[in-house]
């Protein structure tokens, strides 16, 4: 069991957790993730580590409610526990002095880009951060990112905060202004990462994206998270999660992420019908525990 020491909403549906996980905190590097499971009948989901504190033995994650598992997770609070947390998994981000780096975060992807941005700044890079969100309420980690960025730009889809538009608009401006860009790191929804990749491909700017395929074990054992990189299968859990954006087949990523949509909807509907009882029982580690008795599982 991994104890939640602190939990707070950063924005509607986006929650940050501080979790006691000394081994992981000791080893984590920017770009790595954990896989967690909430209760005995739960699935395993990967979540990027936003920050770790080796001295306190804690890690921080930021979670956006999307399906049943993330909704259940975001219903937990300080004092609750997570049944399983394993990591740090995946290759760490490449951190060195590139020159000028543009770090782009879309939605909750901002939380995943943040630790890498901080490390890149520390490594002597000029860091220009671009954060995008649907609206004002959903802009997260502005203060944190500002601290590690030489410049910070923010866009909202509806213009309720900062500039109306998309993160790619800002990137285009930078390119058109003749800003020398040595590396782009883009983490966010697949359409955003794909759009960034298309834009930088023409400009021959090296671009890194962090991919989020469906995963189970996270150790390279199952191959479920395979992504097509230059037409060849690679495993996001051990060969990634970060890849050269210009080599990624985004269409296949979208296609593979849709594989269980019907089932995911079914789980989500069930969650919405029985939110209270499910939240209650996730705290005891068992959902539908009564139904499980006696079948030897």
């Amino acid at each position: 069991m991994f104890k939640i020491l602190h939990a707070e909403f950063l924005a509607p549906g986006i929650k940050r957790f501080v979790i006691e996980a000394p081994r992981i905190a000791h080893k984590q590097k920017p770009g790595q993730f954990v896989i967690l499971r909430l209760y005995e009948q739960g699935e395993r989901i990967p979540i990027t580590i936003e920050h770790s504190d080796p001295e306190r033995g804690t890690i921080r994650i930021v979670v956006q409610s999307a399906g049943k598992t993330t909704n259940l997770l975001n219903s937990l609070n300080a004092g609750d526990s997570i049944l399983d947390v394993v990591g740090p998994l995946g290759k760490p981000s490449e951190i060195k002095e590139f020159g000028t780096v543009v770090v782009m975060g879309g939605g909750v992807g901002t939380a995943m880009a943040y630790p890498t941005a901080a490390a890149l700044k520390q490594a002597g890079n000029r860091v220009i951060s671009i954060v995008g969100a649907r609206n004002k309420e959903l802009v997260i980690l502005e203060k944190e990112l500002r601290e590690v960025s030489d410049a910070l730009m923010i866009t909202t889809d509806d213009g309720t905060y900062a500039d109306k538009g998309f993160v790619t608009d800002k990137l285009r401006q930078l390119i058109e202004n003749g800003t020398r860009i040595d590396l782009v790191l883009a983490i966010g929804p697949i359409p955003m990462m794909r759009a960034v990749a298309e834009m930088t491909r023409k400009e021959h700017i090296r671009t890194i994206v962090s991919l989020n395929p469906i995963m189970i074990d996270g150790t390279g054992m199952c191959g479920g998270c395979r992504v097509l990189i230059d037409g060849k299968s690679e495993f996001a859990c051990v060969d990634g999660p970060e890849f050269d954006a210009h080599r990624v087949d985004f269409a296949v990523l979208v296609q593979r992420n849709s594989m269980y949509r019907a089932a995911e909807q079914k789980s989500m509907e069930e969650f919405q019908r029985e939110t209270d009882s499910q939240v209650k029982s996730v705290r005891t580690g068992q959902i539908g525990a009564c139904a499980l008795q006696g079948d030897g599982q």
């Binding site: 009948q41 394993v86 189970i216 299968s233 051990v238 849709s258 539908g288 030897g296 599982q297």
Partner: protein, 489 residues
């Protein structure tokens, strides 16, 4: 093992029957769920011997002076001795006898390829059916489970030495069990959330119920073995850190043959194409067959065609799982003939009874989709057999112009595994083979790193549960020696 004598120790035998009478006794078949019934559930196929059946079968043992059953067993179970204790009705004595050499009898009694080991050389088998050693072992182990109070297990005096076991599969569990009985402090690290390794994620419920694995693990806990799940050694902690910072005196690496092999043919990324590891992990570890009670889903292929490519036990586990999930037509696609299939005989028999088809001498060349990224079929090619290859099996040779297409909703690739590199690449000085497996001495299981031992699939490549257990056993012996002597390397 005692020196073979020329005649069976007649006076010492607990079996009143003459050898001739024993030869005439019929082999007792394993009671099992009917094929029609079991093809729709995940409950264990074999139901187990009753005490009566077990004693009848045990009476067939000829008590050969030269016990090939024990010689051919990778962990050296004293078959003759435990079988005689069954004859005498001392089932707990029989269990204790097995446990002298095998810490996982309820598991090996179910999944061992007995035909390749203990039962393979059984003299009875030359004339009639071999003694049902696996069935007897299973009976004894299950009897013990129902009658033993594990809180009263004797504990060896502590040696003060600490051993880390990396991986809780068959080799790791065996090493752990042997070492804890010597008084060493044993800590097992498991990457997944449940201990058991391939026994949990790889072998389906209908062949090896999870409850059995849990009981064996509980038994080991009662012996004093500590388990820590959610630790990926190489990522969460390294071998160096275990030795240098966490105070372990020795480490055993039994991480298994972790990475799935794909075929490298077009279309392997389509939705509906799985590695056997993923397909089985979803079903076994994550209980996808119980969706929505469990959250992990599986593609719905009820009534549709499912093919598994490969001919080993894993392939059969996958296709029989697909049958239970409601596949319309479920078939094995294997490039050689049935004679070359590495699967256990019993699995092939069970699969056929359950309506699994075997399309042999054929292999897919390409997967085809429905235009939207979902698997719709495969283009296959027929094969003929040529000369034996390096594996000793006849090599499949493609027949020109024999291509044909089949409709498919799900394809599972079960053609083997490769070495998972996580431990090797994070352990400086650990020598590996060209294929990335860990180099270890065949007798001592010592690696190139002092204090580090390895065994099982991560050394040999994919093999069987019992062979991995054999390696775990050799490693435990060698680790004990290392810890109790000057520790030379």
């Amino acid at each position: 093992m005692t020196e073979p004598t020329k005649q069976p120790p007649k006076q010492a035998s607990l079996n009143p029957l003459s050898l001739k009478e024993r030869m005439k006794l019929p082999h007792q078949h394993m009671p099992e769920q009917s094929p029609l019934e079991r093809a729709t559930n995940f409950t264990e196929v074999n139901l187990g011997y009753s005490e009566e059946l077990a004693r009848q079968e045990a009476q067939r043992c000829l008590e050969c002076p030269k016990a090939t059953c024990t010689i051919d067993c990778p962990v050296g179970v004293k078959v003759k001795e435990f079988v005689q204790l069954i004859v005498a009705g001392d089932f707990m004595g029989a269990a204790a006898k097995i446990r002298e050499d095998n810490v996982l009898p309820a598991i090996t009694g179910r999944v061992c390829p007995q035909e390749d080991h203990c039962e393979g050389g059984c003299l009875m088998g030359k004339k009639v059916a071999p003694l049902g050693i696996g069935y007897l072992e299973r009976f004894v182990a299950d009897y013990e489970q129902g009658h033993l109070d594990i809180s009263k297990l004797p504990k060896a005096p502590p040696t003060g030495k600490k051993v880390a076991i990396v991986g809780s599969g068959p080799s790791g569990l065996t090493a752990a069990g042997d070492l804890v009985q010597q008084g060493h402090q044993v800590h097992v690290f498991e990457a997944l959330h449940t201990p058991g390794g391939v026994l949990v994620y790889g072998i389906p419920e209908f062949r090896l119920p999870k409850q059995i694995i849990r009981e064996q693990i509980d038994y080991m806990r009662a012996m004093g073995v500590e388990f820590e799940t959610n630790v990926v050694v190489g990522r969460t902690v390294t071998i160096n850190e275990l030795l240098e910072e966490e105070g372990y005196d020795a480490v055993f690496i039994g991480t298994g043959a972790g990475a799935p092999q794909f075929m490298g043919i077009p279309g392997e990324h389509f939705n509906g194409v799985y590695s056997a590891n993923e397909f089985l992990t979803r079903i076994n570890l994550m209980h996808a067959y119980e969706f929505p009670k469990y959250d992990e889903p599986m593609v719905d292929f009820r009534g549709k065609n499912v093919a598994v490519i490969g001919g080993g036990n894993t392939a059969l586990d996958a296709i029989r799982s697909a049958r239970r999930l409601g596949a319309g037509k479920a078939f094995i696609l294997y490039r050689r003939s049935e004679a070359e299939m590495p699967a256990r005989i019993e699995e092939v028999k069970h699969a056929k009874q359950e309506g699994i088809e075997f399309q042999v001498l054929a292999a897919p060349l390409e997967f085809l989709d429905d235009g939207k990224g979902w698997l719709a079929g495969a283009r296959c090619q027929r094969m003929e057999l040529g000369e034996p290859d390096a594996s000793g099996r006849r090599r499949p040779i493609p027949i020109e112009g024999s291509e044909y297409e089949i409709p498919l909703a799900v394809a599972v690739i079960a053609i083997g595994t490769t070495a998972n590199p996580i431990v090797q690449t994070t352990t400086p000085g650990l020598a590996t083979t060209k294929k990335g497996y860990i180099q270890a001495d065949e007798t001592t299981q010592k690696t190139s790193r002092k204090g580090v031992f390895a065994g099982g699939d991560i050394v040999t490549g994919a093999a069987t549960v019992i062979l991995a257990m054999g390696a775990g056993r050799r490693a435990a012996k060698s680790i004990h020696e290392y810890l109790t002597t000057s520790g030379e390397w």
